[in-house]
């Protein structure tokens, strides 16, 4: 057992998997000697060398496409996008190739690779270092999308992602990297992709969230309980695709009310799918409208802290939305 924050948990997952399986390699911008701009690969270059921890040219299309080729060939690449905001040059490879290879070859070629992407706002990164762009990928069939919110989940889910026979996009919220530490079991802890977790039990309404919003929702739930007498259940989705509707619906059946929370823009965000699925499959349980709380519909998080604060969700904003829904 070690006390790790999310960044350390991620590093340790990669280290253990590289140790375990020679086919695992890391590639990306500045992942080598520098150890990544957030330090996620710190020390791995020294340990595994120039080739298995490979500094690529500044070309995201290359990173994704060459990783795909290597995965087809038999390796298990972990590709890092320096920021999720910079994944778009790789979009063609991800949606045309990586997500479709297995289906189009009738299962004869697979692309077992992971793309790690630091995402999210609240870090003074403005429009291009703050994006929560998961919806572009959650709507892409053939990908699996993971977005952990705790160190233990980060480690166990990253290990599962590396071992998965299919491509996994692994979203790491930058604001959670060093947010808190927790005991993380050593060694063979591999989670199952596709399972949500009830992070806090409650009876009055269900809050569905992931990543940094898990942290905010839990804080909000404490405030709701202590200050407003509202018992919120907090469900951390953890995997966005495939979505664990069983856990989601069980929670809605229990509380009758669903609040879907994410930092990304509201219109067409991932929350739309969660809300629509609840509204359709959980209709009989609902005694209030499925409510979304999400980032405002502007093209990005603006920079100045006045503006950034305006954009970002917070425990206080969650409390407000939850109260309104609870009072419905």
């Amino acid at each position: 057992m070690a006390e790790l924050n999310i960044l350390e948990a991620i590093r340790s997952a990669m280290d253990e998997e590289m140790e375990r399986d020679e086919r695992v390699m890391i590639m990306g911008e500045d992942v080598g000697r520098k150890g990544g701009v957030f330090g996620a690969t710190d020390g791995l270059w020294a340990k595994y060398g120039d080739k298995r921890v490979l500094d690529t040219p500044l070309s995201e299309g290359l990173i994704a496409g060459a990783a795909a080729g290597a995965a087809i060939y038999g390796l298990r690449p972990i590709a890092e996008m320096q920021f999720a905001d910079f994944v778009y040059p790789a979009f063609n490879q991800i949606v045309s190739e990586i997500s479709r290879m297995r289906y189009r070859s009738n299962g004869t070629f697979g692309v077992p690779m992971v793309i790690r992407m630091p995402y999210g706002g609240g870090v003074h990164g403005a429009l291009y270092h703050s994006q929560s762009n998961e919806a572009y990928f959650t709507s892409t069939v053939g990908l699996k999308i993971v977005a952990p919110g705790t160190p233990a989940d980060a480690k166990a889910l990253l290990k599962a992602s590396i071992r998965d026979p299919d491509p996994v996009l692994f979203f790491e919220h930058k604001k959670t990297y060093r947010l808190f530490k927790e005991e993380v079991p050593d060694g063979e802890q591999v989670a199952e992709i596709g399972k949500a977790a009830v992070a806090r039990e409650g009876s009055d309404l269900s809050i569905f969230c992931y990543g940094y919003m898990r942290f905010c929702a839990l804080e909000a739930a404490e405030a709701l309980a202590s200050e407003h007498g509202v018992q919120a259940e907090v469900v951390d989705l953890r995997t966005l695709r495939p979505l664990d509707m069983e856990t989601v619906l069980a929670s809605v059946a229990k509380t009758g009310k669903a609040l879907v929370v994410h930092e990304a823009n509201r219109f067409g965000g991932f929350g739309a799918e969660v809300a629509a699925a609840i509204a359709e499959q959980g209709f009989e349980h609902l005694d209030g409208p499925v409510t979304r709380l999400a980032g405002p519909d502007v093209p990005g998080v603006p920079y100045h802290h006045n503006l950034e604060d305006w954009f970002m969700l917070s425990p206080a904003k969650i409390v407000e939305a939850a109260q309104t829904l609870a009072a419905y």
Partner: protein, 338 residues
């Protein structure tokens, strides 16, 4: 020329026996015959769409010939009938794929005609967005380099496709690490209707290789042995740590872009007519005849063999079952035991 050729035939200088050049010639005949059969089937309504390799066979057979089957890898494109067949696919594989039958090795009927691929042959499944396969070839070469394995990757694409950003990213990376990869650009002068001079600044794709730090050469795609020589040298270079090569083969597109296109809308009849003189099949036959390697008798025998092969392949392919819609939801993700 005759005398010179006869005294010192090019193919022997290149280390190819008479039997081997005849085998190459036969491969071209076979690819062409399959290709022509596809057009017939398309006109007969059996195939919705066909995209042809006619005129490109010399470049393809020549450059693929030195590749080691079951060891090297290929990332082809939609005109790669001859290349994929040289690398192991059979006439029946190609025809089955065009008919989109349930046991088509490329996609089990999921992809359009021309989307080659075959796990048993180390041929990566190809998609439609042009140029994406170039990165896969580079990724395979990178994989081999990381693992220290003796593998060469070859990839094929058109001159229009050379202008995609991904192709640039792929070539640059190959240059940085001297990766064992061969880029073959089949320059047929058109990207659908858009001619070379509106596609390629500077008019030479091969010239770009210098900007990536590896050799780029231009060969006459009508000259099979020149293509073979270029492919062999590139393969040697890749295999021995010398890195990548870009081969630009100047070829002719003997057909319209595809069965959906009519090149008379944008191409001069005289230009279209003149292309036949550059047909690599005829040019190779002439050369081999001049050398006495190919005789009327041999040619007739080969043509008869090829015709029979295509007939039988077609018959078998047509008899295969169509895909079952109940399978259409499968293999989105890996299935246990697959």
């Amino acid at each position: 020329m005759n005398a010179k050729l006869a005294a010192n035939p090019r193919h022997r200088e290149l280390g190819l026996s008479d039997d081997e050049v005849l085998a190459m010639y036969r491969q071209m005949l076979l690819a062409r015959a399959v290709d022509e059969r596809m057009w017939l089937m398309q006109r007969a309504g059996k195939i919705a769409f066909i995209i042809s390799g006619q005129g490109h066979e010399g470049a393809q057979v020549g450059t693929t010939w030195p590749m080691r089957r079951n060891q090297d890898w290929m990332a082809p494109f939609y005109r790669s009938i001859a290349a994929t067949m040289t690398f192991g696919m059979t006439a029946e594989d190609i025809i089955t794929a065009h008919l989109a039958k349930a046991d088509d090795v490329s996609s089990a009927g999921r992809q359009m005609p021309g989307h080659y691929g075959g796990a048993p042959y180390n041929i990566v499944s190809v998609s439609s967005p042009v140029g994406t396969q170039v990165l896969h070839a580079v990724g395979i070469a990178m994989g081999a380099w990381v693992r220290g394995e003796d593998v060469v990757a070859i990839t094929y694409f058109g001159e229009g496709t050379a202008n995609q950003g991904e192709v640039h990213e792929a070539m640059n990376f190959a240059g940085v690490h001297k990766l064992p990869v061969i880029f073959v650009c089949e320059n047929n002068g058109y990207a659908i209707s858009v001619p070379l001079e509106k596609q390629v600044g500077g008019l030479s794709v091969a010239a770009r290789a210098k900007g990536y730090g590896f050799p780029g050469i231009t060969v006459d795609g009508g000259d099979v042995l020149a293509c073979y020589a270029a492919g062999k040298e590139a393969h040697e270079r890749a295999r021995t740590g010398g890195g990548a090569t870009l081969i630009e083969a100047r070829v002719v597109r003997l057909t319209s872009h595809s069965s959906d296109d009519d090149q008379r809308r944008y191409r001069d009849p005289a230009e279209v007519e003149s292309l036949k003189q550059h047909d690599p099949r005829g040019l190779f036959a002439n050369e081999l005849r001049t050398l006495g390697v190919l005789t009327d008798e041999v040619d007739e025998r080969l043509r008869a063999e090829v015709k029979q092969e295509v007939n039988e392949a077609s018959k078998r392919a047509e008899a295969r079952p169509d895909p079952d819609p109940a399978t259409a939801g499968r293999f989105v993700y890996a299935e246990e035991g697959h």
